[in-house]
């Protein structure tokens, strides 16, 4: 359609901010969409991991062990605290008495509290800290932590390749699918939409899966592990901490739902503002000359303010989650400190246990928040996956694998037999069209825009399937050939020039991948590419792309013609191939094209009728039907549609009056 679409894509892509998998918490609202069928699409996404099953199991084991070790750590560290505590207290007591005696003595003094406290401490009066035991315990803790970290690394290490390879396969599937889709699909689907599916959505899947898999897994395991440890330390305290789960989840959910909404609004507003800025900048000079700057400014300010409001709310709300969780954590911390302190004082719990418990409770709120936010992120990832699956499920082209390969070269006899075709179900475009073209003939197709000229040649290429009748090449139905065999014998220069990002040389060589440098040069010379290439600083190594700011529209056309020239096909289709080339160059080009067309069947579509006068057969199309056919002379003599078109073109605004150009030509030539 137009070249501005891909450019726009690039921009929006940048706006939606793909930074690589290291994004912060703000990526939550990145693709603000909900899936239609979360469960099914989620399951399908998980199924995609199947080829990696052994690794997935290993990851699961590594994660479980790592989390278990990490969960035991504080418990053992608590024992170390106990040893220190015992030593500290024991040292203050006289040696030579037993622990029981000391407690007795305390009770005898009426110091109940001290007595209670001491019953909870495993100490030997008069003896300081047992450093041998402390060292052993600490070494054990260090070992546990080291093992846990190592396993966590191993888990992440494997997971990375699992996720990356899964996404790679998904990308490959999308790529394969692209090649099996009928062209009509690409006509129907807005280009930006499709591009967004195969790029933005796929990236989003990759990123969210990468992030959520690891964090969801360890988060859930940590909750279980830590809770188990807390229960083993103290039922009461564990239950108190357990209350924080629903409280945190509720609070987080409440805020997140709101912030999610604001994030969606923020991205929508960003998109809207972006569109406006794009429009204002792209139409910069027009807005100026039409004196519309004030209105544009006002609209921008309005949209800018809206974006401010949305992003302010989104940022405020999303930044609330952390402090809120911290507060709930602190609250829990206070309660545990108080109750724990009381229980240590009463001797029902050791200080080390309380300390371990405090550490556990700190570890507890974090994974709860993590899991809550991952659930959100997962939503967005699954929604994207769903859109990719939708594409993968779309109807494909009829397979042609079973057709025999074609070996011999084509002669180039093309015939249409009662061909009917329509793009839309209820609007027939071409109806019952028959036509025979002999090998070596040049067929010109003329007529107003929308008459079906391009469609006709697209049908020869089998870009679309017929609704009726058949087209044959050398008496063989093209529907019974392999597409590659058919298209490999046809060279086509399209109305919309298309260059990929690469050098001019590579773009020409696209016509024949194994072309030698000489062949490329020859094609470039014949099509006048060589002439302007020399004025470019890097010559044939100049990088061009589809937006091609560095070369003009006419020059782009010349490159695409060179491409077809190099391909040297049996059949040639030129669809408005020289419309942007200036007339002086076009004239030269015509000679080259004439050489290319000799001995080849060719179809030529042109606006400038001068370029097709010497065609063997001219077809005049109107509303999908051929209304006239014959040679130039025949049709002029007939004085109907073609003659009218022809006269209109060579008659200037001095209506009806034969132009003075003819005389001038004589003068010029003479």
């Amino acid at each position: 359609m137009t070249t501005s679409a891909p450019k726009k894509m690039k921009e929006t892509e940048r706006i939606t901010g793909h930074v690589g998998p290291g994004r912060g918490p703000h990526s939550m609202g990145m693709v603000g969409q909900k899936s239609q069928n979360f469960r099914e699409s989620g399951k399908r996404l998980l199924n995609r991991l199947r080829p990696e099953r052994p690794k997935v199991i290993a990851i699961f084991i590594a994660a479980t062990v790592s989390v278990a070790f990490a969960a035991i750590g504080p418990r053992v560290l608590g024992r170390a605290t106990d040893i220190v505590f015992a030593g500290a207290i024991g040292k203050q007591l006289p040696s030579g008495v037993t622990r029981e005696q000391v407690i007795e003595m305390a009770r005898a003094r009426g110091d109940e509290q001290i007595a209670d406290l001491l019953t909870g401490v495993d100490m030997v009066p008069g003896q300081g800290i047992d450093f041998g035991q402390l060292g052993a315990v600490l070494l054990l803790v260090l070992g546990l932590y080291a093992a846990s970290s190592l396993l966590s690394f191993v888990q992440g290490y494997m997971l990375t390749s699992v996720v990356m390879n899964t996404v790679r396969r998904m990308r490959d599937d999308v790529e394969d699918k692209l090649n099996r889709m009928p062209l009509s699909y690409f006509d129907r689907q807005p280009r930006g939409e499709l591009l967004s599916r195969v790029t933005n959505d796929l990236d989003n899947v990759s990123q969210t899966v990468q992030q959520t898999m690891s964090q969801l897994l360890t988060g859930l395991l940590t909750i279980v592990g830590v809770f188990a440890m807390m229960i083993s330390l103290s039922w009461t305290l564990a239950l108190i901490t357990l209350v924080t789960i629903p409280v945190s989840a509720l609070a987080a959910g409440l805020v997140m739902r709101r912030s999610q909404k604001q994030f969606i609004a923020q991205w929508r507003r960003t998109g809207a503002l972006n569109a406006q800025v794009e429009e204002a900048f792209a139409g910069h000079s027009l807005i100026k000359v039409f004196g519309r700057q004030r209105e544009v400014q006002a609209r921008f300010d309005e949209e800018n303010e809206e974006l401010f409001q949305a992003s302010f709310r989104a940022q405020f709300l999303s930044n609330l989650i952390m402090p809120m969780m911290m507060f709930i954590g602190n609250l829990n911390y206070v309660i545990i400190a108080v109750i724990g302190g009381l229980r240590v004082a009463s001797g029902t719990m050791s200080l080390g246990d309380v300390q371990a418990f405090i550490q556990y409770s700190r570890q507890f709120t974090q994974p709860v928040t993590q899991v809550a936010s991952m659930a959100n992120l997962l939503q967005s990832g699954v929604a994207s996956a769903e859109r990719v699956f939708e594409f993968l499920d779309a109807d494909e082209e009829v397979s042609d694998e079973h057709h025999a390969r074609l070996v011999k070269d084509a002669h180039g006899r093309v015939s249409f037999e009662n061909v009917s075709f329509r793009y839309l179900e209820d609007t027939p475009l071409i109806d019952d069209l028959s036509l025979a073209v002999e090998p070596g003939q040049t067929v010109a197709i003329v007529g107003p825009t929308g008459a079906g000229k391009t469609t006709l040649v697209n049908l020869v290429m089998r870009f679309y399937e017929l609704n009726g009748g058949r087209i044959t090449l050398d008496e063989q139905d093209i529907a019974e050939m392999r597409r590659e065999d058919l298209r490999g014998r046809i060279g086509m220069v399209l109305q919309d020039t298309w260059l990929f990002e690469g050098t001019i040389r590579d773009n020409i060589a696209y016509g024949k991948l194994d072309a030698t440098e000489d062949e490329i040069l020859e094609a470039a010379k014949a099509t006048f590419v060589d002439r302007f290439v020399h004025s470019l600083p890097d010559g044939y190594d100049t990088i061009v792309d589809d937006e091609g700011a560095n070369i003009s529209a006419g020059e782009k056309q010349l490159i695409t013609i060179a491409r077809a020239f190099l391909a040297n096909p049996a059949l040639l289709i030129l669809d408005e191939a020289t419309s942007s080339v200036d007339t002086r160059t076009e004239l030269l080009l015509q000679h080259a094209m004439a050489a290319l067309r000799t001995d080849r069947t060719s179809f030529v579509i042109a606006h400038r009728l001068s370029t097709i006068r010497d065609a063997d057969l001219i077809l005049v199309m109107e509303d999908g039907a051929i209304v006239e056919q014959g040679t130039h002379e025949q049709l002029i003599a007939k004085g109907d549609a073609y003659a009218n078109l022809y006269n209109a073109q060579f008659t200037g605004p001095r209506n009806g009056e034969a132009i003075a150009l003819g005389a001038a030509a004589a003068a010029g030539a003479g």
Partner: protein
């Protein structure tokens, strides 16, 4: 640059920011107090078995927690408002600056680049500012406060802090230094993959026509593999990050217990300080880690800041006069006097010594090969660029002395690329004349030969047009753009190759319809096809930026070799 942008545009939020700092200070101190209070509970409550004290201190801890969250929420509120307000202000400043630019500056930066700067780059800097309000303020306070508190708890163990910090910085710094270039490479490969995908979709017909599907699949497979490989190696470094940080923190706790145990044993440290010290150490290390992350973000934002600063530091090369002329008596006489134009920094002029006069009621055509300077010449008239030599005057007044709005009011421009704005057909026509009635719109569309297809569009004047007009065909777009200029009824019409996408019959009808409308006006037409301008009152032949012929069609045929060549090329095509 980043610093200057941030400094300049945060100025209006000075007061809010000072509140944020104060609030963060209080909140951070509050969170630092918590472990200390806990230590008190253990030392004075638990160890002495004083339950009353435990309850009292528990109450204090609760109060401190409440204070902390209140301050944090207030700080987040003010911080988010200031940071997002900052973003809004920078966007607005950029937008206004670009609006003041002439086409020269816009072309210099390129519209896509300006768009990115106006949105995405601002976003980058804005996020850094936001992060600054939350992290950059609290992390140092946390760090310094944590160190002070830790030292207060026990000075003898503070050397552990001095060891743990560099260990953490070195290990995370090492991993990050591996990760960052990886991310950059990953982004590049991701761009490649998306580029191939995009090209396969945009070029699908060419790919199929040349049967290049296998080749494209290979190309994609390669890009996909590259991306996957870089993604895996970067992801592996990333998966080392978290375990490393955790291990350093845990190992520090273990070290505190051992060395703290030694100090408790010789009586120089209290048992409660041990727990507090561990908590402070973890807090310090967290602050260090956050700062490391923040430091990683700065280079990216700095690039964005530079790009923003660059636009803000550029001023327009076309300066409107202080007290522009708004009224003149005669109408539409356009005079080029020895006009020249050279792009800034370019060696050769685009236009040189151009002199001619376009009279009201007359049509002046401009012809010449691609790159001859035709479009540039037209864009000098509405001052999209300013001449670098000579003068252009309208009705005897140098265009640089006009009030720009008054000048533009006189001009109806139809650009080479028929750009339409998103909105309805009517919205687009209103660009030409804001108060146009429906009847006027239909009249303009009819003149521009656009009435038929607009009527068929279902919603007529209210039919939506996509941005850039991509939902219409090239010819339809051009006709709407022509109607947009016609509805203005300007004194000077500038048609920049505006009929190129029209088929011949439409072109002829359009020109006939234009005749009566432009009878009084000055018309300048840039054209490719000679037969469309043969009846112009004068034809300017441009070659390499100079006028090589000036006269009517017949005069030029007799005298101007370049014109003869152009005519011949078009006739030979016809005659051959």
């Amino acid at each position: 640059m980043l610093y200057r942008v941030v400094r300049d545009y945060l100025r209006p939020y000075k007061r809010d920011i000072s509140y944020v700092i104060a609030l963060q200070l209080v909140a951070t101190i509050a969170s630092l107090l918590l472990p200390s209070l806990n230590a008190d509970i253990i030392d004075n409550g638990v160890v002495l078995g004083d339950t009353g004290y435990i309850m009292r201190m528990g109450g204090w801890m609760l109060a401190v927690s409440l204070l902390q969250i209140t301050c944090t929420i207030a700080a987040v509120y003010l911080g988010a408002r200031s940071a997002m307000g900052f973003g809004r202000d920078v966007r607005s400043a950029l937008f206004r600056r670009v609006a003041s630019f002439s086409s020269r500056e816009v072309a210099g930066f390129g519209a896509p680049s300006l768009i990115t700067r106006n949105t995405n780059d601002v976003q980058q800097v804005q996020m850094l500012v936001m992060l600054g309000f939350t992290l950059a303020i609290s992390a140092p306070i946390m760090l310094v406060g944590g160190i002070i508190m830790a030292m207060r708890e026990d000075i003898g163990l503070s050397w552990l802090v001095a060891v743990a910090i560099p260990v953490l910085v070195a290990s995370t710094g090492f991993i990050i230094s591996r990760m960052v270039p990886g991310f950059r490479r990953m982004q590049r490969h991701l761009d490649d993959v998306n580029q191939v995908m995009r090209e396969q979709i945009t070029g699908i017909r060419v790919i199929r026509a040349f049967v290049r599907e296998p080749y494209e699949a290979d190309r994609f497979g390669e890009a996909n593999n590259d991306l996957t490989n870089v993604g895996i190696s970067t992801g592996r470094w990333m998966s080392a990050m978290f375990p490393t940080v955790l291990f350093v923190m845990n190992a520090s706790s273990v070290a505190v217990l051992w060395f703290g145990g030694l100090r408790i044993d010789d009586g120089s440290m209290q048992i409660g300080a041990l727990t507090a010290f561990i908590t402070y150490l973890v807090q310090i290390l967290m602050a260090v880690m956050m700062s490391t992350f923040m430091l990683v973000m700065i280079p990216r934002a700095a690039v964005a800041g530079d790009r923003i600063g660059e636009v803000l530091a550029t001023s327009s090369s076309v300066v409107p006069p202080e007290d522009g002329i708004t009224e003149v008596t005669t109408h539409g006489r356009l005079e080029f006097d020895n006009v020249g134009f050279t792009y800034a920094g370019a060696e050769h002029p685009v236009l040189c010594d151009i002199s001619f006069t376009a009279e009201p009621g007359k049509t002046t055509a401009i012809i010449g090969s691609t790159g001859a300077g035709k479009s540039t010449l037209l864009s000098l008239i509405p001052r999209l660029f300013d001449v670098t030599q000579g003068t252009i005057s309208v009705d005897g007044v140098d265009i640089r002395d006009f009030d720009p709005e008054a000048l533009w009011q006189r001009i109806g421009l139809v650009p080479q690329k028929a750009y339409l704005f998103s909105g309805t057909i009517a919205d687009n026509l209103r660009y030409g004349k804001p108060d146009a009635t429906e009847a006027e719109m239909w009249e303009a569309l009819e003149l521009a030969q656009a009435k038929d297809f607009v009527e068929e569009m279902g919603d007529g004047l209210d039919s939506e047009v996509a941005q850039g007009g991509t939902s219409l065909s090239g010819g339809q777009r051009q006709r709407i753009a022509i109607a947009r200029a016609l509805i203005r009824r300007p004194e000077v019409y500038l048609f920049d190759d505006s009929f190129s996408a029209l088929d011949v019959a439409t072109d002829a009808r359009l020109r006939r319809a234009l005749k009566p409308v432009t009878r009084e006006a000055t018309v300048l037409i840039v054209a490719q096809r000679v037969f469309t301008i043969t009846d112009a009152d004068q034809i300017v032949v441009l070659e390499d930026g100079r006028v090589v012929g000036l006269g009517t069609h017949d005069e030029l045929l007799a005298t101007c070799p370049t014109y003869q060549e152009i005519v011949e090329s078009q006739l030979k095509a016809e005659a051959s």
